[in-house]
């Protein structure tokens, strides 16, 4: 992640370069969990044959900034990305911006006591605010007759800045960006590899009391230091809960597969 001063300078440069054309236009920002969250992650994605469905995928998003902050979507909102969107995602808002070309957008996924509902229910918003969660995922993993359920809340605070975009805005042409959330990263088996596996066997093995429910406590009790996979590089992470929590910082993308720093 870049130092704030650098980003501010970067954004200022972009705005300066982009405002030569004159006039203003509209910019629309959406958030989308893709089919993996709305419909589930199919078994052929996993190396060990599991499939995942999400009942809830709650995310708190804010600090959405285009260019130097003069164009920003105010406030923090809670979205349930598991709700169907017809492939369009959920609208975060529209702002009026100077016409021009935009090459950087930033956003943040973090707990917020001031968060309001995006498309989430009031009780979901209350739960996220009261628990201090930035992300809450609840669902089930199935493989044949085996089923495990999970409901995990994370307090991670991740700034995605900058995200690479290249969007032209004119008075006649609305700009748009999609904050894309990749749920399969939660189940990646390596924190650094560019080609990790998507796997669930080790997560399933954490169910110490064999009740079919995998809890945060059980994941935290699973030592990963002797695992062949689940490498963490130089990070001080030794248990599976810490590992999955670290993976939450990799979920955010832009416009599908676009990367953010």
């Amino acid at each position: 992640m870049r130092a704030p001063s650098q980003l501010a300078f970067a954004a200022g440069l972009v705005l300066t370069a982009s405002s030569c054309g004159g006039g203003e236009g509209s910019y629309r920002v959406t958030i989308y969990g893709e089919a993996y969250i709305e419909e589930g992650i199919p078994a052929d994605v996993f190396v060990d044959g599991w499939a995942i469905t999400f009942d809830e995928f709650l995310i708190v998003v804010g600090d959405i900034t285009l260019a130097d902050g003069a164009a920003a979507i105010d406030g923090w909102r809670v979205f349930d990305l598991a709700q169907p969107s017809g492939g369009d995602g959920h609208e975060l808002g529209r702002v009026t911006v100077p016409a021009g070309t935009y090459s950087a957008l930033s956003y943040r996924v973090a707990p917020s006591a001031d968060a309001t509902a995006g498309n989430a229910r009031d009780d979901q918003v209350t739960m996220m605010r009261d628990a201090g969660y930035s992300l809450f995922v609840a669902g089930a993993a199935t493989r044949g007759a085996e089923t495990y359920s999970f409901a995990w809340g994370f307090t991670s605070d991740t700034t995605y800045a900058p995200c690479e975009i290249m969007v032209e805005v004119t008075p006649e042409q609305e700009g748009a960006s999609e904050l894309t959330i990749h749920a399969d990263h939660l189940f990646y088996d390596d924190l650094d590899s560019s080609e990790p596996n998507v796997a669930f066997d080790l997560v399933a093995a954490a169910d110490a009391d064999a009740d079919g429910v995998i809890t945060q406590v059980e994941l935290a009790a699973l030592d990963i230091t002797t695992q062949a996979r689940y490498q963490v590089g130089s990070r001080d992470i030794t248990d599976l809960w810490g590992y999955i929590s670290a993976q939450t910082a990799t979920l955010g993308h832009i416009d599908g597969e676009g990367h953010c720093e």
Binding site: R2, L13, V14, S103, A104, S193
Partner: protein, 275 residues
């Protein structure tokens, strides 16, 4: 010869009024050597005193990193990274908005403004002082180093019968605890492309710098006191009691070693290896 990535990064964008075009950033070449001073006896968390006699690792493409921004006289100068859009706007924004890294495999580690390209089989124990070549470094304040692991092959001069063949690291050494001595070997393979990011390297490089950079393996983490061999019970592995073990035969031990060797705390670039 500069690689394309660094050659691109060495271009300076002039942003001050009246400044047009680009110019090359000042840079220096500094010798890089294998620095054996890091190899000291390590005492593990289980009380074993480990001494290495041979410790070979296949590495490639050493990179030197900084925060990525510096000032040249009255002109703000920014390092340009490769892989950005072709338009003037993209180019300018790319000067300070580096490639995205929120995806696994894109670990953050500062901007790369120096490098020693190439592939090396380094014996941290025996090659002290051996030259790895001359690194090219842009003038700037450095605070980290990266390098990639490789798997040894015939192109590295490693024959198939060599224990290092097809592996990344080979250790030969002894572990002593109380009255027990265990001779050990270990071979560890890392995934191709696995990278050490952020090994300590502190140096303010100027146009007059003439430092020799020493690349070290540190069996003991100087910050926390952990060792590469923590968790390895040499006695338990010596099931036949002959005083010799091959650590890689035990999967748990192999995984511990592989994980430890990915930790940047066990590596260092000493900017004063020239004495």
């Amino acid at each position: 010869m500069l690689t394309r990535a660094l050659a691109s990064s060495l271009t300076i964008a002039c942003l001050a009024p009246g400044c047009s075009g680009s110019q090359e950033a000042p840079r220096v070449t500094l010798a890089v050597v294998v620095d054996g001073r890091g190899i000291q006896e390590a005492t593990t968390d289980l009380g074993w005193r480990v001494q290495l006699a041979s410790c070979r690792t296949v590495i490639r493409d050493v990179e030197f990193t900084t925060a990525g921004e510096f000032h040249d006289g009255g002109t703000t100068a920014l390092l340009v990274r490769e892989g950005l859009g072709s338009s003037a706007l993209a180019w300018l924004s790319g000067a300070i908005v580096a490639n995205a890294r929120a995806h696994p495999g894109h670990a953050a580690g500062g901007d790369i403004i120096g490098e020693l390209p190439g592939r090396f089989v380094v014996d941290w124990c025996a090659d002290a002082g051996q030259s790895l070549g001359d690194a090219t470094l842009t003038v700037g304040d450095y605070n980290g180093a990266n390098f990639f692991f490789g798997l040894a092959g015939e192109n590295d001069g490693i024959e198939p019968e060599d224990p290092l063949f097809g592996q990344t690291t080979e250790f030969v050494g002894t572990a002593v605890k109380d009255a027990q001595t265990v001779a050990f070997t270990a071979v560890v393979a890392q995934d191709e492309g696995r990278e050490i990011v952020g090994a300590p390297f502190e140096l303010d490089v100027t146009t007059t710098s003439a430092n020799t950079l020493g690349l070290q393996l540190l069996p003991t983490d100087p910050f926390e006191g952990d060792t590469v061999f923590d968790g390895v019970d040499f006695a338990a592995l010596d099931e036949d009691g002959d005083g010799a073990v091959a650590l890689e035969l035990d999967e748990t031990t192999l995984n511990l070693l592989r994980r430890a060797l990915q930790d940047h705390d066990y590596y260092l670039v000493d900017p004063d290896a020239g004495g």
